[in-house]
């Protein structure tokens, strides 16, 4: 499946992605409503773009008490807004803190890949974000990071 691949070392925390996301989805430049977030550790000069990875065994979908989170045929994890009651269990379940919540609509929101043309990728000038087939693009990075943490990388 094509996904947003993150090249962490290229991120400068310019936050153009946050603006592009909130503008294209919510019509306003509000980073708080962005579905992609930069975790910044300024003192270490370490910036990590955080965005839904459409987990293989998605904890958010497993826990949703109204079956509002479902996997689409293309593999994407989507929220059926009509089914969402706004309980926020998915926010508590997402290990990456990338499930966000719209106070206005009262529903959870995650990265919907902008129908195949992610705006964050378009606006990421340093090239830290790429829209690519996830298996090929990140297998190596994944394995390295997992090994460093002693985590399995199935």
């Amino acid at each position: 499946m094509k996904q947003i691949v993150v090249h962490q070392e290229k991120c400068t925390a310019c936050r153009e992605c946050e603006l592009a996301c909130s503008f294209s989805h919510e019509g306003s430049f509000l980073p708080a409503l962005s579905r992609i977030r930069i975790a910044d550790f300024y003192e270490a000069q370490f910036y990590q773009p955080m965005v839904c990875v459409h987990c293989a065994d998605a904890p958010c979908a497993a826990v949703c008490p109204t079956v509002a989170i479902q996997r689409q045929a293309d593999g994407q994890i989507s929220i059926i807004e009509d089914r969402c009651i706004g309980c926020k269990m998915c926010l508590l379940a997402c290990p990456f803190g990338v499930m966000s919540f719209s106070p206005e609509k009262g529903v959870a929101q995650n990265c919907d890949l902008c129908n195949g043309d992610p705006q964050c990728v378009q606006f990421c000038t340093p090239g830290a974000l790429e829209f690519a087939d996830i298996i090929e693009a990140s297998a190596l990075a994944k394995q390295k990071a997992a090994a460093a943490l002693g985590l399995p990388h199935a």
């Binding site: 975790a39 926020k88 508590l92 379940a93 290990p95 106070p103 994944k142 985590l151």
Partner: protein, 417 residues
């Protein structure tokens, strides 16, 4: 021959167990026994139905054809009354007997009836089943005032639903704060104030001694002698494991059904999961029952996989809650009230309505957190949640920034679809 799976209950634990079984066994016959009628509904959504925000149809989390499609036979309106491990049979109230190769008990919780004088003589409402919610909703058509007895999780959900319907509320809670199972003293005081600011009368440190019918109203008498009248009474003084079908001593029990790390009871072919099961705890050496949706899902999935012949250990239960009440979002994880030897990291102290506290144990390992604030802060609790599950050490924090765990690296390592 194909395995005969029998599951008692049609809610979180059993539905997750079906997923667990079907992941590994596509052939076995699954029979689901439920004392209620119809396909599964979401208990968590019931308060939204009471508040008039959802219809009965919208509460459903399965449709009738969903069961057949994956080879599940739904036996509705049948109460399991006994289990006979010697003959491997479940006895139903109608007298029928259902044979099993592997059995799951997922009978959940039942509400506790408190010792209140006159309770059985006045109309009152619980909030656990769909029938309860329908009854409560009907009562709200005419009620202008209500008492909520018990300011715990379910009591506060009921209160929130009634508030949305503009019913004037009095909440009576034994503890000094509301939601004592979810909030520490600091967050509890902030929340108490937020509820009172909405015009709700909250009587903390108080007990209801008696209820009595007085004309069309209900007279409430507190233990200290105070009285007041309301149109409607909601009772939410807690739940306990529903072990009614196990009165014959067929399986070992403490408060709930005792299971090992594979969710097996003392009979290897009988499993238990969800609110009814007393399982391994994640943070302590003991066993626990949290009676929450996420643990029912986790246990159900693991039980299902094990019933299908896998060896999938259950890592243990971790208490967690998240809820939005009276325009405040609250969340809790693990050991949120510090014990001896624990250390507390205050990330936000309650100023401007934001309270974030993390608890670490004597080795510096994250064990719990409490959050009070707006909706989006819960995402950070999700990160802390996974860090607690990985038994990560606390690594410092800068004000206004997310806690620093190795989650960037974890993200790179995540198994993706």
């Amino acid at each position: 021959m194909a395995t005969q799976y029998v599951l008692i209950g049609n809610s979180a634990a059993s539905l997750a167990a079906i997923d667990g079984i079907r992941k590994h066994d596509k052939q076995g016959a699954i029979t689901l026994i439920n004392r209620e009628q119809g396909s599964a509904y979401s208990r968590v959504a019931l308060p939204y139905y009471v508040a008039g925000e959802m219809t009965l149809d919208e509460l459903l989390i399965r449709q009738q054809p969903d069961y057949g499609k994956i080879g599940v036979t739904l036996v509705e309106n049948e109460n399991a009354v006994a289990i006979h491990p010697a003959t491997k049979q479940v006895e139903l109230e109608s007298g029928k007997k259902v044979s099993y190769d592997k059995l799951l008990i997922g009978t959940g919780s039942e509400t506790i009836v408190p010792p209140i004088q006159g309770l059985d003589q006045v109309p009152h409402h619980y909030l656990w089943t769909l029938a309860d919610a329908i009854g409560m909703k009907q009562a709200t058509n005419t009620a202008k005032t209500a008492v909520v007895i018990g300011g715990g999780f379910i009591g506060m959900l009921a209160a929130e639903a009634l508030r949305k319907l503009k019913i004037k509320l009095t909440i009576v809670e034994m503890a000094p704060i509301l939601l004592p199972q979810l909030l520490d003293e600091g967050a509890g005081q902030l929340f108490l104030q937020a509820v009172r600011d909405e015009g709700v009368t909250v009587r903390t440190g108080a007990l209801v001694a008696a209820l009595a019918k007085k004309n069309d109203a209900i007279e409430v008498t507190l233990k200290n002698g105070d009285t007041f009248s309301v149109d409607m009474a909601v009772v939410a003084t807690g739940v306990r494991p529903n072990v009614r079908c196990l009165q014959n001593g067929a399986v070992s029990m403490n408060k709930g059904i005792l299971v090992n790390e594979f969710l097996q009871t003392n009979h290897p072919d009988i499993y238990a999961a969800g609110d009814v099961a007393e399982t391994k705890d994640f943070l302590s050496d003991g066993r626990s029952i949290y009676a929450i949706w996420p643990t029912a899902i986790d246990q159900g999935r693991a039980a299902g996989a094990n019933m299908a012949g896998k060896q999938q250990p259950y890592p243990g239960s971790l208490g967690m809650n998240v809820v939005e009440l009276f325009n405040v979002t609250l969340a809790q994880l693990g050991r949120f009230r510090e014990g001896a030897g624990d250390d507390v990291k205050m990330l936000s102290s309650g100023k401007d309505g934001l309270y974030r506290k993390v608890v670490v144990d004597q080795h510096g390992t994250l064990v719990g957190a409490v959050y009070l604030g707006d909706e989006n802060g819960v995402a950070e609790m999700g990160v802390i949640h996974s860090a607690i599950r990985r038994r990560e050490k606390w690594q410092g924090f800068q004000d206004g920034r997310p806690p620093k765990f190795s989650y960037g690296a974890v993200m790179q390592a995540a198994p993706r679809y």
